[in-house]
């Protein structure tokens, strides 16, 4: 991936990520999140993880976002009222985030091997095929388990959405 | 064969939970177990030392952890005790307990205890040995908490926290023992560990043995870790008290004989004086506490604590007489205390109370209960004719065979004298209790009460009959445990 594309998509992702958390209107937040995920999917493609990128678009930009928006609509959430800002909490949160970022930068700087360029990859990678082979050969049991998990989750959702919780 | 023995109660318990007829299934399962155990006892080749009927499934080969069962004479004796007491407990359950809530869960819990104890006695792998015992503890908690009487929740919490802590200390000890071995020989297999001990390959770290002693000791209600026992037994429904006091408690002693002593004899020697002091507390102090009790059930609870002191004395003496006596006493005490708890439960069910001040003269309206309670009480205070006597006798001699110098008694002999005096103490409280509840002028309130029903009597007769067999022909049981005792003593003691 050319550096220019990388930086464009990264900026897209981070910018809309920031928009997600800064917007006061939840619908706008949700839509920013979609764009941020699209940028992320583009980065995945740039890393030759085509299958994962497609999944990312399908699941997040498709299913999850619809769900979010649906719920926001359902609850009829308006933009937040401006409340008194809790200064200490704000400062604490920002401080921690800044500290975390600073640590991260320091660690990445000291990681010399990470500055090597990526090695070459087989051209025309049969990505979906390989993923399928790995998934069903090595990760068969977790795959089944995840199926059960989704079943349980959907049952749980049905139970939780009942009007009277007993 | 042994797998079947463990599986039958488990399967029966699950079947009951799924809705099978509780009483009949439970009774059938325990009866089947008893028959199987008897078959094993007769099939067991006494001429051949070592473990028999073994079977194993390796589970984590890297850690040498396997499901490994097998029996020798000692475990057979314990299995026999388990199946007899289990059958009797299930048999008397409907008579001694008015079951209003969840009868299926009740019987299933009893069967889970049976399965757990059977598994613990049959296991030859440290991990399963421990895990099966834990399996048996949980239903005990349920039984006391749900169907108990009096302050049942308090008692249930107390026993749970005490025993959980005891088990935890025990687990620390077992793991420390395992980790103290050199990497190459680490194993969970008890026979392999014993072979290792014979070669002197187990480090004899005193504190590890102390941990084991405290852990097992808490499970056995060693003084001063004993206060869970009386309140739990007083609150527990009779069958649970029978199974716990009669069988489950013996797990700790069995563990000392099976794991702690053969593996760490020199470390054990290091703590002999401490153990002597504590068991003297069990006999003298708890004996006096027993005298002060004002209720039949707490009195029986304390008496069972007290008698543990004798078994400890045999174990501490660490010679053929003591160990054999301890093994026999485990068996005999289990039977006698089970019979006593069953009968006390039957009395409570009929009179509604076990306070001495409210009882009296019960032998007149309840001749069978009175008679059998008398027999069981005589057994418990070590009178000839019952299994407890030929078990306690060698223990006294074992203590005295640690000779002092003439009249300058050794510590063992001093504790032996205390233990002898304990016999007097135990007859004081047992006869006082018996008199207060069964003898004397019958209370007019006993007008309408009926004796134990005929269909339940065989359960009591079974317990007392086996006790009398052990009393008249103790040699049968001595022969059974002889090879085990030899194995334990084979390890270098000093």
């Amino acid at each position: 991936m050319s550096p220019i594309l990388f930086w464009i998509f990264s900026a897209l992702m981070l910018g809309f990520g920031a928009a997600t958390i800064l917007n006061r209107n939840p619908v706008a937040s949700a839509l920013s999140l979609v764009v941020s995920f699209l940028g992320l999917a583009a980065l995945f493609f740039g890393l030759d993880a085509n299958f994962i990128g497609v999944i990312q678009i399908l699941v997040y930009a498709g299913a999850v976002m619809v769900l979010f928006i649906f719920i926001i609509m359902l609850l009829d959430l308006k933009a937040e009222q401006r409340r008194q800002i809790n200064i200490p909490a704000l400062l604490g949160g920002v401080a921690i985030v800044v500290a975390f970022t600073a640590q991260l930068v320091t660690v990445i700087r000291s990681y010399k091997a990470g500055n090597e360029p990526f090695a070459a990859i087989t051209p025309n990678l049969p990505d979906a095929h390989n993923i399928g082979m790995t998934l069903f050969a090595n990760y068969n049991l977790p795959f089944q388990v995840i199926g059960v998990l989704i079943l349980v989750a959907s049952i749980g959702v049905v139970v939780l959405s009942q009007r009277e919780l007993k | 064969m042994l797998n079947l023995l463990i599986a039958i109660p488990l399967v029966a318990a699950i079947a009951i939970l799924l809705g099978a007829c509780a009483k009949k299934t439970a009774l059938l399962a325990t009866a089947l177990n008893l028959i199987l155990t008897l078959f094993l006892v007769f099939q067991y080749d006494q001429a051949k030392a070592g473990y028999q009927f073994t079977s194993s499934v390796s589970l984590i080969p890297e850690l040498k952890l396997a499901y490994f069962v097998g029996v020798d004479g000692l475990s057979l004796l314990m299995l026999l005790l388990t199946s007899i007491v289990a059958l009797a407990a299930i048999w008397v359950a409907p008579q001694v307990e008015k079951l209003e809530r969840y009868p299926n869960l009740y019987y299933a819990s009893l069967l889970f205890i049976v399965a757990g104890v059977t598994g613990a006695f049959a296991s030859l792998d440290l991990f399963f040995f421990y895990a099966f015992h834990e399996l048996a503890l949980i239903p005990t908690f349920l039984l006391i908490g749900i169907w108990g009487s009096g302050d049942r929740l308090g008692a249930a919490w107390k026993i749970t926290i005490y025993l959980a802590l005891g088990s935890f200390v025990l687990l620390v000890g077992l793991l420390a023992l395992y980790l103290s071995l050199p990497q190459a020989v680490r194993t969970f297999s008890i026979p392999d560990l014993q072979l290792l001990a014979l070669k002197g390959g187990i480090p004899q770290t005193p504190w590890i043995y102390l941990t084991l002693l405290v852990g097992f000791g808490t499970l056995i209600s060693l003084f001063p870790f004993h206060t869970w026992a009386p309140s739990a037994y007083a609150s527990a429904p009779a069958p649970a008290a029978m199974l716990h006091a009669g069988v489950l408690k013996k797990f700790g002693l069995y563990g000392l004989l099976r794991v702690a002593l053969p593996l760490m004899p020199q470390a054990a020697h290091h703590w002999t004086n401490l153990l002597l002091f504590l068991l003297a507390g069990n006999i003298l102090y708890v004996g006096l506490v027993t005298i002060a009790q004002k209720r039949l059930d707490t009195m029986l609870g304390y008496s069972s604590v007290m008698h543990m002191g004798y078994i400890f004395l045999g174990i501490a003496a660490f010679n053929p007489l003591g160990l054999t006596g301890a093994a026999l006493l485990m068996f005999a005490h289990g039977l006698s205390i089970a019979a006593l708890f069953a009968l006390a439960g039957a009395v409570r069910e009929r009179t509604g109370s076990l306070e001495f001040s409210k009882l009296g003269g019960l032998a007149k309206p309840l001749p069978f209960l009175g008679f059998t309670f008398g027999l069981a009480a005589f057994a418990a205070i070590g009178l000839p004719g019952f299994g407890n006597f030929p078990a306690e006798l060698p223990i006294f001699f074992s203590a005295f065979s640690h000779a002092g110098n003439g009249l300058a008694f050794s510590n063992f002999q001093i504790v032996g004298v205390i233990a002898l005096w304990g016999v007097v103490i135990s007859s004081v409280y047992m006869l006082r209790g018996y008199r207060a509840s069964f003898l004397g002028e019958p209370n007019p309130r006993w007008a309408g009460i009926a004796d134990l029903c005929r269909c339940t009597r065989p359960a009591i007769i079974l317990l007392i009959g086996v006790l009398m067999i052990a009393g008249f022909r103790p040699q049968l049981f001595v022969n059974l445990v002889t090879p085990t005792v030899k194995t334990i003593l084979a390890a270098p003691a000093k």
């Binding site: 550096p3 992702m13 981070l14 990520g17 920031a18 997600t20 958390i21 939840p26 937040s29 949700a30 941020s36 995920f37 992320l40 980065l43 995945f44 890393l47 993880a49 994962i52 699941v59 997040y60 999850v64 769900l67 979010f68 719920i71 926001i72 359902l74 609850l75 959430l77 937040e80 604490g92 949160g93 920002v94 985030v97 975390f100 970022t101 991260l104 930068v105 990445i108 700087r109 500055n115 090597e116 360029p117 990526f118 090695a119 070459a120 990859i121 087989t122 990678l125 993923i131 790995t134 995840i146 998990l149 989704i150 989750a153 749980g156 959702v157 939780l160 959405s161 009007r163 919780l165 | -």
Partner: protein, 105 residues
């Protein structure tokens, strides 16, 4: 040339953004979105490592497997979480976490 460290940096920044959202926003739905951002930041670094740890010209698929499972679990989590939010909203008529503070002494 774009290196692994660049990807890690971007991923870390995205994670920090998500974390800031969780810490600073009071709307529980936004908090939830912040969580999603954090999960995806992790995904990005995993895929980057997968590409980095190349073997015989093939990416290390174990990393991508983990991403696959994370996405699946995240989807389930979103479904359940939003259902909980709906139930909560029905009970309390709010999505503000400062009003949802009954779980205390």
């Amino acid at each position: 040339m774009i290196t692994l460290n660049d990807y890690l940096l971007v991923s870390g920044l995205l994670f920090a953004l998500g974390f800031a959202g969780v810490l600073l926003r009071r709307n529980i739905i936004i908090i939830f979105m912040g969580l999603e951002l954090m999960l995806n930041a992790a995904n990005l670094s995993l895929v980057a490592f997968s590409r980095f740890g190349i073997v015989n010209g093939l990416p290390n698929y174990n990393g991508q497997m983990l991403v696959f499972f994370i996405i699946t679990v995240a989807a389930a989590e979103v479904a359940v979480g939003l259902a909980i939010i709906v139930a909560l909203y029905r009970a309390r008529q709010t999505t503000n976490v400062e009003d949802l503070n009954t779980l205390k002494f």
